[in-house]
Amino acid sequence: MRRRTLADTHVIDAEHAHSPHLRHHFDDMGQQFDSATFGMWVFLLTEIMFFGGIFGAYTVYRNLYPEAFAATSNYMNPAFGAANTAVLIVSSLTMALAVRAAHLGQQKVLQLMLVFTMIFGAAFLVIKGFEYHEHWVDMKVPLFPGHWAWDGPLAPPEYAHQAQILFCFYFFMTGFHAIHMVVGLGIMTTILLMARKGTFSPTYYTPVEVSGLYWHFVDIVWIFLFPLLYLIGHTKNLI
């Protein structure tokens, strides 16, 4: 934390007059920026615990029923998952570039990069939608009666119930993640509108920075989801 002194008071008042973005209860822009980014890190900590809860439950069940969980991999499509991983990694890159552009005051680049980020984010959701549709056709949605079937050569009957539990985990984990993506798209829309109004400058780009942290976090969650859900059983089919 920056130590404040009495002499700072005048500087603070001067800054107060100059920066319209300084909220009344902060002394200076530096303190405000530090608080906002630190706040987002603490929030991401809560998100880690939120996803951590369900990852923990997943771990328990995967230890209880390793073969059943591996068998479900036959019904996951790693092509979709890999494509989405790539899409999200690229979106993280464009997000990072957007923050950099905001930092440097390159307004056009900032808006362009935000648009790219949103396009990739939306592409992720579209691909996920196709994938959900495939599960629906495939009768692999145990949440709805009549849309769950466990038969065929790849589906050992003794795993019927346990596979159902895994598919529930699949839908919860990817579903919670997708909700976070939708929220992220909403945030990006707001940031884009603010950028178009010319809100940001090299001295004030806190919202871009903070939203970027959130976006990267949601991407990282997917990096964990992809191997845990898609690659636990039939990696040989990939090669």
């Binding site: 404040r4 209860h25 809560t46 615990m49 809860g53 923990g56 529930c168």
Partner: protein
């Protein structure tokens, strides 16, 4: 700073209460002090509601036959008592009201780091509370506040989802409050307010905030799974298809045991403030008390299994959890010893807040020591699910937290409202609370030891005498809560003006006017001394 300048001609000094008028100025406020008042009103309503359910429970238990209500209704009574008291009173109680009001003032800040998020947390709390109320009005919930599976997911025919959604939503309010406190304490301290000079109330709220931020998301996802399981019958907690209902208990207690420390740590922070102020002495062992708050917060995350000794957990896990339960008693004991040492040779005065502090130290010690009984594996097999457990956690939650909350009410009421409460009535009701509390819950230790199980609406006739004592005590306790409500409201209009520092207390909050102005300080204060320098000033007076 520039914003705090006001016209000096106004007769009543400008303060946060008269800065603006009208309901909009309250519902859209971002002032941490006004939000604290909003919380104070809301949680008082929930406390009254939970209290009504408590009285209904005690009325039913007046006679052994179970003749007032049937067992299903009784199950709803204790569930709604637990849900409202724990999630909607105890968890927000001190952090959301006094923490909200005092943390920025104690560290010399104008507001919390995120005032709008602070207001949002109150709205989230209200939405959560409305869901809980809806569950009550539609017909109640009968699972117990713990929502144990598979009863909650498969067999209960009550409004489990509505109540769980309410708790889920209220959890986010708690997370946001905690987040705000952590950032505020890290980034908003006034010059000279080092970590080693933070008032212990701030340390306690900081430790609490860590638990809120790290624990609450886990119970959120757990309750989400319960709701989804109940809605879609997916089987995650359903043993019929290979689900594990005990996993629910692990996930639930992973939050809900640390939540016990959310419910007690802020109370301990209050007691640290009261004990030094009314002993006119610096706190004994400042760094140990501050550190023990963090110690409780950390170890508190590692002991959840002691709620599950008899649920079919591995014996080795039981040993581990039992051992750590003993360890978590150490930081709690450090606090009690340090408070006692602080009072030693202090010049103690017996104002109402100090009476509550005495009550806290005694009652919390009993609650904590009986916790060790329950943490001992062999004893727990005998005592689990008996009234001994009920008595134990009420000694901590009511004898500890509610007593500390009332102590805080009396101590900071002059700062919040600028008015004094009537001291005589204050002392009287403090004694009433102490007597009523012990009469209510001490017999329950004996009942539990003798074997009366909890959560039944009928019991063996030989337990009646002790149950009648308990019900009588509950009435006294209820009166002890109603009297302060009356005189606090009375004092708003008729109480004598408090002045800036009626207790001669240390701490930045007492250097401001009562009630404080909207931005707390006219100038950012500069801190040049340690916390609780009472001795120094006494000497200066003498010299």
């Amino acid at each position: 700073m520039s914003t705090a300048i006001q016209e000096p001609e106004i007769k009543e000094t400008p303060n946060y209460l008269n800065a603006e008028y009208g309901w909009k100025s309250w519902l859209f406020t971002t002032d941490h002090k006004r939000i604290a008042v909003l919380y104070l009103i809301s949680i008082s309503v929930m406390f009254a509601l939970g209290g009504v359910f408590a009285m209904l429970i005690r009325l039913e238990l007046l006679t052994p036959q179970g003749d007032l209500v049937n067992s299903d209704t009784y199950n709803k009574f204790f569930t709604m008592h637990g849900v409202t008291m724990i999630f909607f009173f105890l968890i927000p109680s001190i952090p959301a009201t006094f923490g909200n009001f005092l943390v920025p003032m104690m560290i010399g800040a104008k507001d919390l780091a995120f005032p709008r998020i602070n207001l949002l947390s109150w709205y989230i709390y209200i939405v959560g509370a409305l869901f809980a109320l809806a569950a009550i009005v539609m017909g109640g919930v009968d699972t117990g506040w713990t929502f144990y599976t598979p009863f909650s997911t498969t067999y209960s025919n009550t409004f489990v989802i509505t109540a769980a959604v309410g708790v889920f939503i209220a959890g986010f309010s708690s997370i946001l409050t905690g987040l705000n406190f952590i950032v505020t304490v890290h980034k908003m301290r006034a010059p000279g307010m080092t970590w080693g000079r933070l008032p212990l109330f701030v340390w306690a709220n900081y430790a609490t905030a860590l638990i809120q931020v790290l624990g609450t998301p886990v119970v959120a996802i757990t309750l989400a799974l319960v709701g989804l399981e109940r809605a879609f019958h997916i089987g995650i907690f359903d043993p019929a298809i290979g689900g594990d209902p005990i996993l629910f208990q692990h996930m639930f207690w992973f939050y809900s045991h640390p939540a016990v420390y959310i419910m007690i740590l802020p109370g301990m922070g209050v007691i640290s403030e009261l004990v030094t102020c009314f002993s006119r002495k610096g706190i004994f062992g400042y760094s140990f008390i501050a550190g023990s708050s963090l110690g409780i917060a950390i170890i508190g995350f590692l002991v959840w299994g002691h709620h599950m000794f008899v649920t079919g957990m591995s014996m080795y896990a039981g040993l581990y959890f039992s051992f750590l339960t003993m360890i978590v008693a150490v930081p709690s004991a450090i606090k009690v010893f340090n408070w006692t040492a602080t009072m030693f040779r202090g010049s103690i005065s017996y104002e109402t807040p100090m009476l509550y502090a005495f009550g806290f130290i005694g009652l919390f010690t009993i609650g904590g020591l009986t916790g060790l009984f329950l943490g001992t594996l062999g004893m727990d097999v005998h005592l689990t699910d008996t009234y001994f457990v009920v008595a134990h956690f009420h000694y901590v939650m009511v004898g500890g937290m509610v007593v500390a909350y009332l102590g805080a009410m009396h101590f900071w009421w002059p700062k919040i409202t600028g008015r004094m409460y009537p001291e005589g009535w204050g002392k009287f009701s403090a004694l009433l609370v102490f007597a009523g509390f012990n009469l209510t819950f001490f017999p329950q230790f004996i009942l539990g030891y003798l074997g009366q199980p909890r959560r039944y609406h009928a019991y063996a006739p030989e337990f009646q005498v002790l149950n009648v004592m308990s019900t009588a005590g509950a009435s006294v306790l209820g009166l002890g809560f109603v009297i302060p409500l009356v005189y606090f409201l009375w004092s708003l209009r008729f109480g004598k003006a408090a002045g800036n520092n009626p207790w001669g207390a240390k701490g930045l909050e007492w250097t401001t006017q009562s009630p404080p102005t909207t931005f707390n300080f006219d100038e950012t204060p500069i801190v040049t001394e340690e916390a609780y320098e009472y001795a120094k000033h006494e000497e200066a007076h003498v010299g």
